[in-house]
């Protein structure tokens, strides 16, 4: 029996998509499953060849990782870093998008220069910040009364209040580096908004802030909610930024940096994998809670 046109289309589709599927399967899905298995085994780099699929499964890694000093504080750090970094980057991105909404001379150039922190290699910008903030020869410290060791000082005083200096610095870096991402998405949404609504509001005598509050913002909530999810997910498991800036020192240790340290410095693959899985589980829990609260509310509005 010759295949029908529909069957042939189906086969062609599968054939064309298969390279994509194969590479994601081999390099993403299978390794993920393996990571989960490793988390339940006593795997170290030395004995890794003896750890098989039918090896000895245990919960020891999890109990070890959770009871190890520093785990919970690193989880708190991760959460503070993620929430503050996400909120700040979206807020600055929103301001930037509103400021650059209307055409003006040189807008293309301004827009491109705003995007540089986001496209520049993380290693270069992290090193750049380190140099600028250096207590001996960094330019920022020459503007201050007394030098601040932004990246190596855990606590400091600001107007009489004790603040986590290094943690604030990595959050500022996060906001600086990723606000262009929020800016791009919000600007794209702003420019797709129908002009009539805004014009009607002008005719009705709405002031700029009123138009922002009652006309523009209601149409931006969905993209802001999407951005919050995306930035939260990306930041919560981010490794490079904090690792490069502080190496996880001075009260900035986040879980992903711990995962890396367990993997390379301690060669403890099982504990490292367990920690990564715990991180991923927390991420999923936060996401579900978030979608419960905000996903539901949005449905009611419509």
């Amino acid at each position: 029996m010759t295949p029908t046109l529909r069957q042939r289309e189906g086969r062609a589709g599968l054939a064309l998509i298969s390279p994509t599927l194969v590479i994601t399967l081999v390099v993403v899905v299978l390794p993920l499953l393996w990571a989960i298995m490793l988390a339940f085994q006593d795997a170290r780099l030395i004995n890794i060849r003896r750890v098989g699929i039918f090896g000895h499964y245990t919960l020891e890694n999890f109990s070890y990782v959770i009871s190890e000093p520093g785990f919970w504080s690193s989880l708190v750090n991760t959460l503070v870093y993620t929430v503050a970094g996400t909120a700040l980057s979206i807020a600055i991105g929103l301001v930037a998008a509103l400021a650059l909404r209307d055409r003006f001379r040189g807008r293309t150039l301004v827009r491109a220069s705003i995007l540089i922190p986001y496209v520049a290699p993380v290693v270069a910008v992290a090193f750049l910040w380190e140099t600028m903030l250096n207590p001996q020869y960094g330019i920022v410290n020459t503007w201050l009364h007394e030098p601040i060791a932004f990246l190596s000082q855990a606590r400091g005083e600001l107007l009489g209040v004790r603040v986590p200096v290094a943690l604030f610095t990595v959050i500022a870096f996060e906001a600086w580096r990723y606000f262009p991402f929020a800016f791009l998405f919000i600007l794209a949404r702003l420019q797709a908004l129908p002009a009539e609504l805004d014009e009607a509001a002008v005719v009705d005598g709405a002031t700029p802030t009123q138009r922002f509050r009652y006309v523009i913002m209601p149409q931006l909530w969905r993209i802001i909610a999407l951005l919050s999810v995306l930035r939260f997910v990306f930041t919560f498991t981010k490794f490079d930024d904090v690792y490069l800036l502080t190496g996880g020192g001075a009260g900035t240790e986040v879980v992903s940096v711990r995962v890396y340290n367990f993997l390379t410095a301690r060669d403890d693959i099982g504990a490292s994998a367990a920690q990564a899985i715990v991180l991923a589980v927390f991420l999923v829990v936060f996401l579900v809670v978030y979608l419960r609260f905000f996903g539901g509310g949005e449905g009611e509005q419509r």
């Binding site: 390279p19 290693v123 140099t131 020869y137 330019i139």
Partner: protein, 281 residues
């Protein structure tokens, strides 16, 4: 003065101010980077606050490129990035076409899979891949790195290309089919020429990911200096006391410049490709 007039006047003043602050905040650090890279370390230590160097020198660049080995790091980065771009395009073009045009079993699930890969934390993936590459003896080879980058970019590039392929009118393809084109030659002769901007955008996206990536380069290559990429090279040398900061700033410029050039050449294409979904809200 009415509230409306007041607000408008305020905004007229505030807006340029905000734009100026934003530009200063983003452009100034890079200006500082370039300025540091062309001066002598002695001068920096004596006058850390001055922005404009007294004497320009390009010795820092000569030093970083030759003595510190950045020329060979550049070569490695170029190999990794270009190979990633080529294979990513080769894989994602047919994939995107299938998702855009053909009805096949599991088309919806594929969508979900791609979203999952896009959101997937690299740090979780790093562990099994590190172990696997150690076991296979692939650590230190650029090949493994390229493989990882392809897997990480393909889901996004399929998504970007699909959006564009859907805008190619079906009737053009049908006409080609009637003229005797097979499916593959229709893609090659009709769809691809019409999608050049999207191909550029996806290629550049893959290039940026591969050029900028750090975690996997660190995990796979750190023990083998001759295969370091520029990112890894800079991060490894940044901690050493023997190499002056100004020389490393020259290294930062060398690392950043290709990406900035690529970006400025393609800014509109790239941002439109990435935010294509945003307009639908």
């Amino acid at each position: 003065m009415s509230r409306d007039r007041f607000e408008r006047a305020l905004l007229r003043v505030l807006k340029p101010l905000v734009i100026m602050v934003l530009v200063l905040m983003t452009a100034f650090p890079f200006l500082y980077m370039v300025m540091l890279s062309v001066r002598d370390i002695q001068e920096l230590i004596l006058e850390p606050g001055s922005l404009w160097p007294r004497g320009f020198t390009l010795d820092t660049y000569v030093d970083v490129l030759t003595r510190q080995g950045f020329l060979s790091f550049l070569r490695n980065s170029a190999i990794v990035a270009l190979a990633s771009v080529a294979v990513t395009l080769l894989i994602s073009i047919p994939g995107a076409y299938a998702v855009a045009r053909l009805r096949f079993f599991g088309r919806r699930q594929v969508h979900f899979l791609f979203l999952a890969v896009y959101l997937f934390p690299a740090i979780v993936l790093a562990i099994p891949l590190f172990v696997l590459f150690t076991m296979l003896g692939l650590r230190g080879s650029l090949f493994g790195l390229i493989l990882v980058y392809i897997a990480q970019t393909v889901p996004v590039t399929v998504y970007m290309l699909r959006n564009y392929f859907e805008t190619v009118p079906r009737s053009v393809e049908e006409a080609a089919a009637i003229d005797g084109c097979t499916r593959l030659s229709t893609i090659w002769r009709v769809v691809l020429p019409l999608s050049k901007p999207a191909l550029m955008a996806t290629g550049l996206y893959a290039f940026m990911i591969a050029w900028n990536e750090f975690l996997f380069a660190l995990l796979f290559l750190v023990e083998k200096r001759e295969s370091w990429t520029v990112s890894l090279g800079l991060s490894q040398l940044a901690g050493s006391i023997e190499i002056p900061t100004t020389v490393l700033m020259a290294g930062s410029v060398v690392l950043t410049l290709p990406i900035v050039i690529v970006f400025f050449a393609s800014e509109r294409l790239l941002t439109e490709g990435l935010t294509a979904g945003a307009e639908k809200g």
